[in-house]
């Protein structure tokens, strides 16, 4: 278990372009898209540009965690493609510990990435105390575990890199858009509202937003509900994930 985790961490720190590249997207979203949308508010009348950027910030942290943990879990597909998975599968360790190692590896990397995004908070005048940081870290862990477990389920079911691309476009992006990361969900159309309720990421983003901004006006669900939903999902999805991964051909 430790071995699988360690390998993921080692690979992460070795891959410098990946580390740098992984900041490009959040920064782009936050400072280009975010600033753009924020300033468009005054064009169409109405203020709140700065508030919008603040609103979006926890969403971007969530996005970073989402993408990082998902891709880490999906590296199983990559490992299968390049054969390394067999080396692990033929070793005398249980399939379940492989899955847990992978979950923890993906989550650790996602937490590191998310924390780095948190460092941008002074630019938006969002104060982050140690207490807030640890709260956010905890929520990041829950979100990352949920998404990693989801990734492992998908990685056990799909076998090709092509299918992986499809999943990214048809699952990950909608999940991100409909999670309340970029815009508030309470004032949108009804179907979006419904979809967002079954989107696990909504609860993570909501928890993260409250932890970072401490603004109950923006909160959709109570904190205990958010945490309960995430913990339940982690348990259900990891059990399902290990089961699927365990299946022998």
């Amino acid at each position: 278990m430790y071995t699988i985790w360690l390998r993921d961490i080692k690979r992460y720190f070795r891959d410098k372009p990946r580390i740098i590249g992984s900041f490009a997207q959040p920064i782009l979203f936050l400072f280009v898209l975010g600033t753009g949308i924020a300033s468009s508010f005054s064009t169409f009348g109405g203020g709140g540009g700065k508030e919008f950027l603040n609103f979006m910030f926890p969403g971007i942290v969530g996005m970073t965690v989402l993408f990082t943990s998902f891709f880490s879990a999906m590296s199983i597909v990559w490992d299968r493609e390049f054969g390394f998975l067999r080396e692990v599968l033929v070793a005398p360790i249980s399939r379940t510990s492989i899955v847990v190692g992978k979950l923890l590896g993906g989550s650790t990397i996602a937490m590191i990435q998310g924390s780095i995004i948190l460092l941008f908070s002074p630019l938006l005048n969002i104060p982050i105390t140690f207490l807030i940081f640890f709260k956010v870290l905890g929520i990041m862990f829950l979100v990352a575990m949920t998404i990693s477990a989801m990734g492992i389920i998908l990685a056990s079911v799909i076998k090709s890199m092509q299918a992986f691309q499809v999943i990214t476009n048809f699952l990950l992006m909608p999940m991100f858009f409909l999670s309340g990361a970029l815009f508030p969900l309470n004032n949108t159309v009804e179907w979006m509202n419904v979809v967002s309720k079954i989107n696990p990421l909504s609860y993570g983003i909501d928890a993260m937003r409250f932890a970072i901004l401490n603004n109950s006006a923006l909160q959709l669900y109570p904190m205990w509900l958010n945490i309960t939903v995430l913990v339940c999902l982690i348990v259900i999805l990891s059990v399902l994930g290990s089961f699927l991964f365990n299946r022998q051909e």
Binding site: R7, K10, G83, L85, R86
Partner: protein
């Protein structure tokens, strides 16, 4: 432990593997003795890799029985995994890690104590001559080096049996020879059973015993020497001005079966070519343009048993294609 013959480290009985439509392994039974080099020989798609994958616990069987080192393959998977070393057909190294790191991870997976692991890593790297490159990323290795590192890794946990699935696939002839040298050296220095597969006929001659497998069935199992004796002598290939007439003549004097070979030549077998040829040429009714005699190879055995040749040319083009595809996907 089991009640089976102690000399047999692997026992396979009536093994069947049915994929959705095809029967990849069709009721095969064989055993591998302790400390021998056992070879699986056959064309691509014959069921070699499927059988190995079942023995090494990666694939479940449809029916039959597989016992390895006294452990049942479907019930005692982890026990089997500890006593086997694998070198897969396709590379299975993490190429973003260095050679030493790959070995280190392998050691952790197999629970080798840290101190011991260091010593053993040096030992196996030394054996495959990779000591000076041990801190380079595997990405920078050539195909042959990767394969050598895989052999080293497969030996790290001191397995009782080392599986080598097409260990020379996709490598150039020189590198291939080197790999075999390492395997022979390994056999000399260590008490280990080696189970290998190949579709390159010449290469399996180092085996103590060979199972020739075709379309999921074992069609012959013996030592290379005995297998070649199936042919019953030397193989003579002749190019003449009149094959029909010559065939009649050969049939008259030897009574053996005569086959048409490539490029308009004919082919047949005789017991002792060195005494046969001078006499034959002297008395031949038609002009002989060329004649050659050679010892039978395993290729001839396969041809004799199945009536087909192992299409080495096609197979290797396909293999290189596959290797290239893999290379491309990386970018």
């Amino acid at each position: 432990m089991n009640d089976i013959n102690n000399n047999n480290i692997i026992e396979v009985k009536n093994l069947v593997k049915q994929f959705k439509k095809v029967k990849a392994v069709d009721d095969i039974t064989f055993s591998v003795k302790e400390d021998e080099i056992f070879g699986f020989l056959g064309p691509n798609g014959a069921g070699k890799t499927t059988t190995i994958n079942i023995i090494c616990t990666l694939l479940s069987k449809t029916s039959g029985e597989v016992i390895l080192n006294g452990y049942d393959v479907s019930r005692e998977r982890n026990k089997i995994r500890t006593c086997i070393g694998m070198v897969f057909q396709d590379p299975s190294l993490d190429d973003r890690l260095t050679a030493l790191e790959n070995l280190y991870f392998h050691g952790l997976l197999y629970n080798i104590p840290r101190k011991e692991l260091k010593v053993r890593s040096e030992e196996v790297l030394e054996m495959v001559n990779l000591t000076d490159r041990k801190n380079s990323l595997v990405m920078t290795y050539s195909g042959g080096m990767k394969r050598r590192l895989e052999i080293a890794r497969g030996l790290l946990h001191y397995p009782k049996i080392l599986f080598l699935d097409e260990p020379t696939l996709g490598l150039d002839p020189q590198t291939r020879n080197k790999i075999w040298d390492y395997i022979i050296k390994l056999k000399k220095n260590k008490k280990i059973t080696i189970f290998l597969t190949s579709h390159y006929m010449e290469e399996t001659e180092i085996c103590d015993r060979i199972a020739i497998i075709d379309e999921g069935k074992i069609i012959a199992l013996d030592s290379p020497e005995n297998l070649k004796n199936i042919i019953g002598g030397d193989i003579i290939t002749i190019l003449s001005e009149d094959n029909v007439k010559l065939k009649e003549y050969i049939n008259d004097i030897t009574g053996v079966e005569i086959h048409d070979a490539k490029e308009g030549k004919i082919r047949f077998e005789v017991k002792d070519s060195s005494s046969f040829i001078p006499e034959f040429i002297k008395n031949s009714p038609v002009k002989i343009l060329s004649i050659s005699a050679r010892k039978p190879t395993l290729n001839d055995v396969f041809l004799d048993l199945t009536g087909r040749e192992i299409r080495e040319e096609n197979a290797s083009t396909k293999d290189t294609m596959r290797m290239r595809m893999r290379g491309r996907m990386r970018h």
